[in-house]
Symmetry: C2
């Protein structure tokens, strides 16, 4: 198994920029009370990061609609998948 | 960049076995009403799969305690990170 590495530096820089952007977003969301203050910022960033990838897979490979997937990603992040916590309307 | 591929088949088989086990777990949790019925099983499996990896990183690299991380992983899965849905006691 071999990978073409010519784009590695560009990819890495782009990914780091995205993580920095997501970190700033999470800090804002914690300040605004959307995400709980007791959640470690790195943990929340990792959750958003993986949700982007899983959502991309859901649309491109599983055939979920982009709208349903966006709703599912948001409710997964903020409300979880548990039956005791159905998604609430956030306006 | 090159990887040693000698263990690939074993790794893949182990990972697939773990995903099959997680899929059966998610189906049970949906039947028991712990995870909402409207959540696609593959989506829930992907969430558990990533939480295992993020939790491992949190303990091994960020210095979170195993107990705190397990609690955080469970509340992330079932209750989310949102301020409107603080983790509930599940017994």
């Amino acid at each position: 198994m071999q990978f073409d590495t010519s784009g590695d530096e560009v990819l890495r820089a782009g990914y780091e920029a995205q993580l920095n952007w997501t970190t700033a977003l999470v800090e804002d969301l914690k300040t605004e009370g959307v995400i709980r203050q007791d959640v470690p910022t790195r943990w929340a960033v990792a959750q958003i990061d993986q949700l982007i990838w899983v959502a991309w897979t859901a649309v491109s490979e599983w055939g979920l609609s982009p709208d349903d997937t966006a709703t599912l990603a948001q409710s997964t992040l903020l409300d979880g998948l548990g039956n005791l916590s159905p998604p609430r309307q956030r306006t």
